[in-house]
């Protein structure tokens, strides 16, 4: 187990070091495309499979398709490239298989998904449609243009691909079907597709078929005159950014248009082609060249294109430390999305400002960066120019696109000093607390000791429970009768305060005696005290006990005489104090 952990730790360390030193590699990607989506019977075409940025890749045998002769799958061709922008190194790696395909009959075919082993994971490509026709009619009835602007770009420079196509306006009523066969669509190695440009306002848009399975939205444009005749015309545009310095191949593309009618029943409707025409757009290549090293600024952040910069600042009249929103808008044709935004905090010209952060908003044709800055001194009079190094392909060199300085007014705060920079060491700062200079005696801290502590901790509950067991043998002190007995004196005192005559006093005394003897108060009405005392063995008890018993007995008889004897009625009976004193003696004697 220890060996496994150490081995894994070493591997992780090596990988981490390798990654840190070597830079960033991109994720693996698999692309498959045909050199053409429509071909004539007898013409040859090829199936191109490209695997990018994989450590290991292997193309499995292509599944057979009836009517097509595919293969053999040979060895791939490998290619590697390295790009360094703004200190970040990016590696890319490509393996390319070219598999010949020979149609053996006309028809519509689908080459099933191909299986590719990529770093131990099986990846499947999408299915590829192929149309083989006897003859390609339509070159005269339609037109299809595919162009890229500019035709030569540098790595990272976006380019626009424009598809313009259409058919003879005289056929307009007959044509109800169109399909674009673009074998490179979604399968362009070495390029990233960006958001498409916005359509012309008010243009009519249509969804037409793409590669027989998908759809693509196109806009109708003004009819064009082709070969002296008006042609109904459509357009679609896409923007791509090349990610490495190599040529981008666009194989022959086809526009298939014609007439279809629906056949079949209600539940089985299908389209049957009545007439089909084909027109092709020539294959072409876009050359992608690497960014030149010569003249590259040290702070170059990857911006490419013909860009402009426009800045605003709000508010312009502030106090020291107040926030200013410094907004910079970059527009033009270029890789607006991808370059690193300039950092004002790293520029000497912005040393009179503190930069708190930035937010960005990206749109297809512009990028707006809003910096939150605050002047730190009242002598700052403008927001300086913010430069951005850009490679301009049109002039073929690096240029600087900078904002114009913006005048501002900064007022000093009353009684305040300027906002200190974090690096300013003369201002207040935290420090450690001072030493303790008094030599306080180390008393050593006397301890009870482990044994004593443990012993007492264990003994405490044992003692409590033991006492409880012992006391229970003599009666449960929690029993209601016991609690009544213990509270008898208190209840007697409380009762006597409300007693106004001998009868009520006698009732209280009987209640007291009953509580003390665990009996009902009625048991004491008319009881012969002497008999009871004899029964309890009080006669032979020690003097104190006998005296206490006799004292309360005499008191009780007095009260009874006062209550029952007509001759004694009206006479003074025992007072409360005497009763309570007798009760105390009774309790003190353990009765």
């Amino acid at each position: 187990m220890r060996a496994l952990i150490s081995t894994l730790a070493m591997i992780a360390l090596c990988l981490g070091l390798a990654t840190a030193q070597r830079g960033q590699a991109r994720e693996p990607r698999v692309i498959a495309q045909l050199t053409t989506g429509v071909t004539k019977l007898g013409a040859e075409l090829a199936l191109v499979v490209v695997v990018e940025n994989a450590g290991f890749a292997n193309l499995h045998e292509v599944p057979p398709v009836e009517g097509l002769k595919i293969g053999p799958v040979g060895s791939p061709r490998s290619m590697r490239s390295t790009t360094m922008i703004n200190g970040r190194t990016t590696f890319s790696d490509e393996r390319r298989w070219i598999v010949p395909v020979m149609p053996q009959r006309t028809g519509e075919f689908t080459i099933p998904p191909l299986s590719v082993d990529v770093d131990g994971t099986l990846v499947h490509t999408p299915a590829l449609p192929l149309t083989v026709v006897e003859d390609l009619l339509g070159e005269d009835l339609g037109y299809f243009e595919l162009s890229a602007a500019p035709p030569k770009v540098v790595e990272g420079q976006p380019f626009t691909l424009e598809l313009v196509f259409g058919w003879d306006q005289g056929l307009a009523n007959k044509i109800n079907y169109a399909n674009l066969s673009l074998p490179w669509w979604g399968q362009l190695p070495g390029a990233l597709e960006m958001d498409p440009p916005a359509a012309r306002p008010g243009a009519t848009k249509y969804d037409i078929r793409l590669n027989s399975g998908d759809t693509i939205q196109v806009e109708e444009i003004e009819p064009r005159r082709v070969r002296g005749r008006p042609f109904r015309s459509f357009r679609a545009r896409r923007i791509f950014t090349p990610t490495r310095a190599e040529s981008l191949q666009f194989p022959t593309s086809f526009l298939e248009f014609g007439q279809v009618r629906e056949r079949g029943g209600f539940f089985d409707t299908r389209q049957e082609k009545v007439e089909t025409y084909y027109v092709s757009a020539e294959a072409f290549t876009i050359e992608v060249v690497p960014l030149p090293e010569e003249g590259r600024p040290l702070d170059y952040g990857g911006a490419i294109g013909s860009l402009t910069a426009r800045a605003t600042a709000e508010p312009r009249d502030v106090d020291v430390g107040d926030s200013i929103k410094f907004s910079v808008e970059y527009a033009g044709s270029g890789n607006l999305e991808f370059f690193a935004a300039p950092e004002p905090s790293r520029l000497e010209s912005f040393e009179g400002f503190r930069v708190y952060g930035k937010t960005e908003k990206k749109e297809p044709d512009r990028r707006t960066i809003v910096y939150d800055i605050a002047p730190t001194r009242p002598d700052v009079s403008q927001v300086p120019s913010l430069p951005l190094p850009v490679f301009d392909p049109e002039v073929g060199r690096y240029v600087t696109v900078a904002t114009t300085p913006l005048p501002i007014r900064v007022r000093a705060l009353e009684g305040a000093v300027e906002l200190a920079n974090p690096e300013d060491e003369s201002g207040p700062a935290r420090d450690i607390r001072d030493i303790h200079a008094e030599a306080t005696q180390d008393g050593g801290g006397s301890r009870p000791g482990f044994g004593l502590t443990l012993g007492v901790a264990i003994a405490a509950p044992i003692v409590a429970l033991g006492l409880r067991l012992v006391s229970r043998r003599q009666g449960d002190p929690d029993a209601p009768m016991e609690r009544r007995r213990r509270g008898a004196r208190r209840k007697l005192a409380r009762g006597l305060t409300g007693a106004r005559d001998a009868r009520s006093r006698l009732v209280q005394v009987h209640a007291f005696l009953a509580a003390r003897t665990y009996e009902d108060p009625a048991a004491w009405e008319g009881r012969d005290f002497d008999v009871w005392l004899a029964e309890q063995g009080v006669q032979g008890a020690p003097e104190k006990r006998r005296a206490a018993a006799q004292g309360l007995a005499e008191l009780t008889r007095e009260l009874e005489r006062a209550v029952w004897d007509e001759r004694a009625q009206g006479a003074a009976s025992a007072s409360d104090e005497r009763i309570l004193a007798a009760a105390d003696e009774w309790i003190g004697a353990g009765l």
């Binding site: 730790a9 001072d434 030599a439 009870p448 000791g449 901790a457 405490a460 409590a464 002190p477």
Partner: protein
């Protein structure tokens, strides 16, 4: 008689003469004069070799002051270790806690007290020293016994509740005591090497590295008999060897 008088006089003179300043006071003087290396040396002497004729200085104070000296000598990890050692001795030492958290923040280390529940509970368990926790247990046990006796004699709901409350107090008081007993036998060391250190399977260069320890990591020391090397127990219980100069003993 004359000899006796003379001896008595000598004793009186000796007791009346001012005590020579000890290492601690010398260290304070040196620190005030910004001679931090000298102050560090004096306090270390006071800590490791207490003078027989000087009152023993509180060890937590010595560790704390040594931390300050290390900080001024720009040895921040050593300062963190000294403050940690001071807190082990005096868990409620406010100045040591303040300096420890300050030093750790300056080193971009996580706070010693993260403020979460686990840290708070750990700090509560360690808030009393061993002697204090034992006295607490003793006191609450006696209180429990007294409440139990009242309940046994008098009964009643009130007495029963009081006894149960004392029982609960006793259980709570046991927690810091048990914690202190567990910590008493441990010998923790802190990694003070800038950039951390490596733990090896054997005490020699080129042996298999078992783990990488970060600065201010704390592990338990097992053995110090081999010169230049310290044997420790990693978090998973695995024994490993670390270069002795990369670690700092927290038990002072």
């Amino acid at each position: 008689m004359t000899r006796l008088a003379l001896a008595l006089a000598l004793c009186l003179c000796a007791s009346a003469a001012p005590r020579a300043p000890g290492a601690f006071d010398e260290g304070v003087r040196a620190y005030r004069d910004a001679a931090y290396a000298n102050a560090h040396r004096q306090w270390l002497d006071a800590l490791e070799s207490p003078e027989s004729n000087a009152p023993t200085v509180d060890r937590a104070t010595l560790c704390y002051d040594l931390g300050n000296a290390a900080w001024r000598l720009e040895r921040p990890l050593e300062a963190v270790a000294w403050y940690t050692a001071a807190i082990r001795i005096a868990p409620r030492h406010q100045d040591a806690w303040a300096n420890l958290e300050f030093a750790r923040s300056k080193l971009d280390l996580a706070p010693a007290d993260r403020g979460d529940l686990q840290s708070t509970l750990r700090r509560l368990l360690a808030i009393l020293g061993l002697a204090e926790s034992e006295w607490l247990v003793l006191g609450t046990a006696l209180l429990f016994a007294a409440a139990g006796a009242v309940w046994a004699w008098r009964g009643g709901a009130l007495a029963r509740r009081a006894m149960l409350a004392c029982a609960l107090l006793l259980l709570v008081a046991l927690a810091p005591w048990i914690h202190n007993l567990r910590q008493r036998d441990k010998d923790p060391v802190m990694v003070v090497a800038t950039g951390g250190t490596q733990a090896f399977s054997e005490p020699r260069e080129g042996s298999q590295m078992l783990a990488r320890l970060q600065p201010a990591d704390v592990v338990e020391r097992i053995d110090t008999t081999l010169p230049g090397w310290t044997r420790v127990k990693l978090d998973d219980g695995t024994p490993a060897w670390i270069e002795a100069e990369h670690v700092f003993a927290l038990r002072r």
